[in-house]
């Protein structure tokens, strides 16, 4: 499968990073998608898209207040705007050599590193290793829309696992989530409510 580059790194830290991309690249990434940032030949960082921000700029403000803006001007502004779309990514783990770790990456990616959308096979590989250790990174920051993020991730990952013949993954993932969240009644019910909409 061909690699889908979705942008380049704007800024990063140990727990996550922000990608910048053009508007015409925005069809590929989606909320809850798993991405990877290859850093060296045997090291790449994995993350989950939790936020997509489209910032305004001066020209957009002018155009919004203007009347009868021609269609080609709107399209030109969208496609050739100077301000990138910002995509927030939560660091979930990394791969070193052949091993995958659900631990925070030892070094964050550097500016302008290319970010790729994970293929179903890569999703299966990253999420199928171990006992869902990456869930704790998602659950850590309750300021993020955790319930929706998990629901979106579960939907994508379930599809990938089912295609690879592992129909139990989804059940096991839900069980692990229930175990991790059973002391947080409201949070767990929110997650399960979101999951029930999948």
């Amino acid at each position: 499968m061909t690699e889908i580059e979705i942008g380049r790194l704007l800024r990063s830290g140990t727990t996550g990073f922000v990608i910048g991309c053009r508007v015409n690249q925005l069809e590929a990434p989606s909320f809850g998608a798993l991405v990877r940032v290859p850093l060296e030949s045997d090291y790449q960082v994995f993350g989950l898209i939790y936020d997509i921000q489209i910032e305004d700029d001066g020209l957009v403000r002018q155009l919004i207040t203007a009347q009868d803006v021609p269609e080609e001007v709107l399209r030109d502004n969208r496609e050739n705007r100077n301000v990138p779309v910002e995509i927030g990514v939560l660091a979930l783990g990394y791969q070193h050599g052949e091993r995958i770790f659900h631990l925070l990456p030892p070094r964050p990616p550097l500016s302008l590193d290319a970010i790729y959308l994970c293929t179903p096979a890569e999703i299966v590989r990253f999420t199928g290793i171990g006992r869902f250790g990456y869930f704790r990174h998602i659950l850590r920051d309750r300021n993020k829309p955790v319930e929706e993020l998990l629901a979106a991730h579960l939907m994508a990952a379930r599809s990938a696992h089912e295609e690879s013949g592992n129909a139990d993954w989804y059940t096991q993932a839900l069980q692990e989530l229930i175990t991790l969240m059973r002391d947080d009644y409201q949070g767990l019910i929110n997650v399960l409510s979101a999951a029930s909409d999948i």
Binding site: T171, R182, I189, L192
Partner: protein, 576 residues
């Protein structure tokens, strides 16, 4: 995963049903159930495997719990899809088992390992055996239902060394045995409210004892139900009596000349000689005859006047309210041979003596008390018991409490004296003195003989307390254990109890036992029929048992299938 595990476990009876999550020695252990709650019941016999030890215990309670009360309060199954709700409930709602551990045993090395042979030899030499629990299993130790091997390890294997199957475990149907040789070493009790199967269970145990043939059994059969064939009051089925099943071993004795027991002639009849009755025998009837406090004095005067052998006869034949004219004074005085006349001469108040005479009239009129019995039936009974036979004394038509109290008490006193004498002779090493054959005296309606007022006086309480050393023990059968004197209850080695409705009765059965708080609820919730709780000294640990049915299958197992039917059975089948 959890639901799959549950499915697997419910299909595999020897698989784990849960794991230990807490508890202690004083409080019971707590285990988290990993199978549906309905697959385990209160009273289930479970094994906890921890390290090199096996812990054996009883489930005494099941409690519903939740990781957060809101998971239990909210009906999430109405909000979530079934799969999600199922997963959520599997992890947040749970059932905890309360386990009362009683015994622990070293598990030993794995078979095939180098140490196994040495350990197996220790087991064969009985150096390794279950011992009272002294420690606790580890957290998360697996709990499983006991299998037949575990039950046999604790309660013995049927047919070996006097082990007799008394029933099966409720949950697994595994055989549960009782050691008959141990059972008879101390007095025992069978309790249960009316209609719970006490009589059937007693028949089963008695049949086992008779078959085992190590003990003599004397049964005071107040309602004529153990010796002759009977008909079950609830089902209407024929219930074989012990006499019919062990014709060579069981002697049926009827009370009084010409006694007939359910239309059958007894092997011999028992008449009591007036000379055999002592003042103490009468005193024991104080409650039944409503005797006054002066009775003891009057009886002592009678004994002094006429001697041990003649007092009853003499008193019986005295007249009451007979007067004559005194020749010298011309006054009206009690006639010679009257009670008052004797009383005046003996220094007893005449009205006290006359009142006693009046109250003893029921004894004077008892047809089985005669001056000179036709045969020495009492001696014959003792000989029968000595010769490996068992005696069922049927009261026939003499079914009043007075008959029962008087005869059973008098006989037991005499038999006790004989056994005490023989034991002393045997212990002191007299030449030719054989070891007495252990004797079990079966007493129905025991509270009449062993209640608080009577217990200090009757021979039975002495037997319950002390006669173990003299090879005599009691098997008491009663529906109101709370009416039995505490001191006697506390001496009972083995207690087998069916359902009891009264809290006092439940309390009484559990007197002096460890873990009675846990067992109390279990006892109150026994099935009304066939379920019994066995506990006490005679069993290694308390256990809930579905008692063996007293039916044709029981007899076939006990005696082997009979190819020859009795005449009676053939006639029954033909409708005669």
């Amino acid at each position: 995963m959890m639901s799959e595990q549950r499915e697997n476990n419910s299909q595999n009876p020897s698989g784990p049903i849960g794991y230990i999550v807490g508890g202690g020695l004083k409080a019971n252990l707590q285990a988290r159930l990993s199978v549906p709650a309905q697959s385990v019941q209160e009273g289930a016999f479970v094994v906890v495997e921890s390290g090199g030890w096996l812990f054996y215990g009883l489930v005494t309670d099941l409690q519903l719990g939740s990781t957060d009360p809101r998971f239990a309060d909210e009906q999430t199954e109405t909000r979530l899809p079934a799969q999600l709700a199922g997963l959520l409930h599997g992890q947040t709602l749970f059932t905890n088992l309360e386990i009362m551990t009683a015994l622990m045993m070293e598990r030993g090395p794995e078979p095939g390992s180098p140490e196994y042979d040495a350990w197996f030899q220790k087991v064969m030499d009985e150096q390794v055996h279950p011992e009272p629990v002294k420690t606790v299993p580890q957290h998360h130790a697996e709990v499983r239902l006991a299998d037949a091997g575990d039950i046999a390890e604790i309660f013995g294997k049927e047919g070996e060394k006097g082990f007799f199957r008394i029933g099966n475990t409720i949950e697994g149907g595994h055989p549960v045995c009782v050691n008959l040789d141990k059972l008879v070493q101390r007095s025992s009790g069978i309790f249960g409210a009316t209609g719970t199967g006490k009589s059937f269970l007693t028949r089963v145990i008695l049949a086992g004892l008779i078959k085992r043939d190590k003990t003599a059994v004397l049964i005071f059969d107040m309602h004529n139900e153990y010796g002759p064939d009977d008909t079950a009051s609830d089902t209407g089925f024929r219930v074989p009596g012990l006499r019919g099943k062990f014709p060579a071993k069981v002697r049926m004795v009827g009370l009084g000349a010409g006694a007939s027991i359910r239309g059958n002639n007894p092997d011999f009849t028992l008449e009591i000689a007036e000379a055999d009755i002592t003042p103490d025998d009468v005193l024991m009837l104080s409650q039944e005859l409503n005797l006054r406090e002066t009775t003891a004095t009057t009886l002592e005067a009678l004994r002094t006047s006429f001697g041990y052998d003649r007092w009853f006869h003499a008193f019986k034949h005295m007249q009451v309210n007979v007067f004559e004219q005194d020749e010298e004074s011309g006054k009206r005085v009690p006639a010679e041979g009257s009670v008052a006349d004797w009383a005046e001469g003996a220094g007893v108040h005449p009205s006290a003596a006359e009142a006693l005479h009046s109250k003893l009239r029921r004894l004077f009129n008892a047809p089985y008390i005669v001056e000179k019995p036709a045969s020495n039936a009492l001696q014959q009974m003792i000989e029968n018991l000595d010769n490996g036979q068992h005696v069922v004394l049927s009261f026939g038509k003499h079914e009043t409490d007075l008959d029962y109290l008087f005869v059973s008490n008098l006989l037991t006193r005499r038999i006790r004296e004989v056994w005490e004498r023989r034991t002393n002779a045997f212990r002191s090493g007299h030449q030719g003195a054989a070891e007495p054959r252990p004797l079990v005296i079966v007493v129905e309606e025991a509270h009449k003989l062993l209640n608080r007022e009577m217990a200090s006086q009757t021979t039975f309480s002495t037997i319950a307390r002390e006669m173990r050393k003299y090879y005599v023990t009691l098997l008491i059968i009663d529906q109101r254990p709370s009416q039995i004197y505490d001191e006697v209850m506390s001496q009972l080695g083995t207690r087998v109890t069916g359902w009891l409705g009264d809290a006092d009765d439940i309390q009484a059965v559990l007197t002096g036992l460890a873990g009675r708080d846990s067992l109390r609820g279990m006892l109150a919730r026994l099935q009304p029929k066939e379920e019994v709780l066995m506990l006490g000294w005679g069993v290694p640990m308390p256990i809930l048992v579905r008692s063996r049915r007293y039916d044709d299958a029981f007899w076939e197992e006990l005696q082997g299938k009979s190819t020859q039917r009795s005449e009676r059975e053939i006639l029954d089948e033909l409708g005669f």
